[in-house]
Amino acid sequence: MATPSGLQLPREDLLRAYRMMCDIRAFEDRVHEEFATGTIPGFVHLYAGEEASATGFMMHLGNKDYIASTHRGHGHCIAKGCDIKAMMKEIYGRRDGLCGGKGGSMHIADLDKGMMGANGIVGGGPPLICGAALSAKTLKTGGVAIAFVGDGGSNQGTTLESYNLAKVWDLPAVFVVEDNRYAESTASVWSVGGSQLKRAEGFGLPGRKVDGQDFFAVYEAAQEAIERARGGGGPSLVHVETYRYYGHFEGDAITYRTPEETDEVRAQRDCLNLFRERVTAAGVLDAAQIDEIEAQAKALVDEAVAEAVAAAPPGEQDLMTDVYVAY
C-alpha cells in the first residue's frame, strides 16, 4: 500500500532512493554474473530483491549515524554511501579496495561513512550497535545506530541480549530484522518460535512489521523508528518481510525452495518495479528519468568491474600490516 507520506517525498529524495536501489540491484546482478566466471574469490552473499529495505532506512541517515550489517552486506554498504568502485575492488581482493583487499565481501566497512562492517558472524552486529548508540548518547552526537539482522540471526543469543541491553540502557538504536524467509536452507517459519513482533514486545521494544518490497512502507516505518530513537524515545524493532533472489551464497543450488516461488516475487513484488509503477502512476517521476537512473547504475557498475579487474592485488608488504595500531 502506497503511503501518502511516501509520495509526498521531495523529487530529489525520490530520485535518490531509486538511485540507491538501482545501484544495489545493478551491483548485485553484476557480481552474480562475474562470480559465475570464477574471477571473484570467497563467499559472496547477494542482496538482490531486498533493496527497498536498506534504502528505506538509509534515506533517513547521515554519516554520524552508524549501521552494522550482516554477511549479506553489499546493499547496506551502498545505501550507507560506501564508494561503489572501492567496494568492487574489495570484493575482487584488490590493494586499493575499501579494506585494502583484506576483508572481502563479508567484511566491507567504512567507519567514516558510519558503516561498521558487514559481518561474517551471524548476530555479530547487534551488540556493536548498542555500542555505537551508547557513543551517540554519551557524546551527544544526535546520531542513531541501526543493526540489520536476518531472520536466522534473530535466533542468535547476541541479538536477543542486545534488544534487552538497548532497552535497559535506553539507547538510540533500531533493530531491523530482514526476514527473507530463509537462513541458508532453513525457513524462518520453522526456525523462529513466536514472532519477531512478540519478541520485541517481550523485551519492551515497540515493534512494527512492514512489507519490505514496498519502499514507501519501509521508508515510513524507518522514519518512525529512527525519529523515535533520535528524539530520545529509545530503541525499537522493525520486522521487514522481504525476499532474496539469488541463493544463500553464490554457488548455492537452491534446492530448498521452488523456482516458482522466486519467479512470483520477482514478477509481482519486485521492489524496483513497485517503486517505478507507483511514482510513474502518480506522475511524480517520469519513465525517462527512471530509465536514466537505471542506465547510470549499470554504467557505474560496469566501470567498477573494469577497474577492479585491472587493479593490483596486495602483496607481501601488506600481509603483516594493520593488525595493531602499534605493537
Binding site: 570467497g42 561474517g120 600481509l319
Partner: protein, 335 residues
C-alpha cells in the same frame, strides 16, 4: 575398499555408527536442510554437504536441523550426551566458537572433573577449520590450540580420508567430549578407504615417513605438505620422518620424543597462528624432555601473527606452504 573423499569418509563413518548404535544422532544448521521450506527434503546436508544423504535412512528425529543458536544446540548436544544420547553436533566453522564456547569448555569439558568422576559426556563436535578458501578472517581460522589448552577435551585432526573415517568412528565411540576438526580444503581429497567400520586410536601418532635426518611434526592439512617436502628432499639426501599427530589431546609424546631423539633435528609445522599454539607446545615438550639429544634449534613453521587475510595473494602467503617447510628443514639439517 574403494576410493572415497574425505567428505564421503566422514559421511560413511556417521552412517555406520548410526546403524550400529541407535543413540547416535546428529545436529547442526542445515545439516539436513530445508526445514519448513517448500523445496527438496534432504536439501543441503550441511553447508559443504558432509551429512547429505543420511536423513532419508535415519529420519528427522536423528538428523536434526537447528536454528542459528549455537549456544543452545551445542549445549543441547552436551546435555543430551550426559543423559543417554551420543550426539554429533556441527559447529559449521570453528571460527564461530566465540558464540558457544562456554558450553564446550566450561560444561562438556569439566562435567566429569567437577562432578567427581560421575558424569560421562560422549559428545562429538564436528567443525571446519583452516585457510585456503578465500573466506577471510572470520571463516579461515584454525583455533585448535584453544581446544588443546582445555583439560577435559580431546582434539582430533584427521589429515586424510582414511584418517577421517577411522578417527570419526573412534570419536563417536569415545566416552569423552571430542572436538573433531575437518579441514575445509581436504573435503575433496580422495584415497582408498576400507568399506567396513574401523577405528584409529587417539593419542597414537602416525609416522607417515621414516628418516634419520630431520623429524617433521605436523597435523591436519599440513601432513600432506610435509610428506611432499619429505619426498622431495629425499632426492637431495635429506631423509625426514613425518609425524602426523592425529590428535593434539591426547598427545603421543613418546613417538615425538623418540623420533626427535633419533634425529636430533626437529621442524614443527602448524597451520595456526604462532603464539601458544601446537608448534610451541611440541617444541616445549622436546626442549624439556629431549634436550640432550638435540643438535639444532627447533624450527617452527606457522601462519603469521595476523588474522587470515581475504585476498588470494595474501592468503597464499599466510598459509605455511611447501617452500617454507622445505627452507626450514634445510636450515635445520644444515645446522
Amino acid at each position: 575398499m574403494s576410493r572415497k573423499t574425505y567428505r564421503q569418509a566422514i559421511n560413511e563413518a556417521l552412517a555406520q555408527e548410526m546403524r550400529r548404535d541407535p543413540t547416535v544422532v546428529f545436529m547442526g544448521e542445515d545439516n539436513v536442510g530445508g526445514m519448513g521450506a517448500p523445496g527438496e527434503d534432504d536439501a543441503w546436508g550441511g553447508v559443504l554437504g558432509v551429512t547429505k544423504g543420511l536423513m532419508p535412512e535415519f529420519g528427522r528425529e536423528r538428523c536434526l536441523d537447528t536454528p542459528i543458536s549455537e549456544s543452545a544446540f551445542i549445549g543441547a548436544a552436551v546435555g543430551a550426551a550426559a543423559t543417554g544420547l551420543r550426539p554429533v553436533a556441527e559447529l559449521m566453522f570453528v571460527d564461530f566458537m566465540g558464540v558457544c564456547l562456554d558450553q564446550i569448555f566450561n560444561q562438556a569439558a569439566k562435567f566429569r572433573y567437577m562432578f567427581g568422576g560421575k558424569a560421562v559426556t560422549p559428545v562429538v563436535i564436528r567443525t571446519m577449520y583452516g585457510a585456503g578458501f578465500r573466506a577471510a578472517s572470520q571463516h579461515s581460522q584454525c583455533l585448535y590450540p584453544i581446544f588443546t589448552h582445555i583439560p577435559g577435551l580431546k582434539v582430533v585432526m584427521p589429515s586424510s580420508p582414511y584418517e577421517a573415517k577411522g578417527l570419526m568412528i573412534q570419536a563417536i565411540r569415545d566416552d569423552d567430549p571430542v572436538i573433531f576438526l575437518e579441514h575445509k580444503v581436504l573435503y575433496d581429497d580422495e584415497e582408498e578407504v576400507p568399506d567396513d567400520p574401523y577405528t584409529l586410536p587417539f593419542g597414537e601418532a602416525n609416522l607417515t615417513r621414516e628418516g634419520n635426518d630431520v623429524t617433521l611434526v605436523t597435523l591436519g592439512r599440513m601432513v600432506k605438505f610435509c610428506n611432499e617436502v619429505a619426498d622431495k628432499l629425499e632426492g637431495d639426501g635429506i631423509r625426514c620422518s613425518v609425524i602426523d599427530l592425529r590428535t593434539t589431546s591426547p598427545l603421543d609424546e613418546d613417538t615425538i620424543l623418540e623420533n626427535a631423539e633419533e634425529t636430533g633435528r626437529v621442524v614443527i609445522v602448524d597451520e595456526s597462528n604462532p603464539r601458544c599454539n601446537i608448534a610451541t607446545d611440541i617444541s616445549a615438550l622436546i626442549a624439556q624432555n629431549a634436550f640432550d639429544a638435540l643438535k639444532a634449534p627447533i624450527k617452527m613453521v606457522t601462519a603469521p601473527h595476523t588474522p587470515p587475510p581475504f585476498a588470494p595473494e595474501l592468503e597464499d602467503l599466510y598459509i605455511p606452504d611447501q617452500a617454507k617447510i622445505e627452507a626450514a628443514v634445510r636450515e635445520v639439517a644444515a645446522h
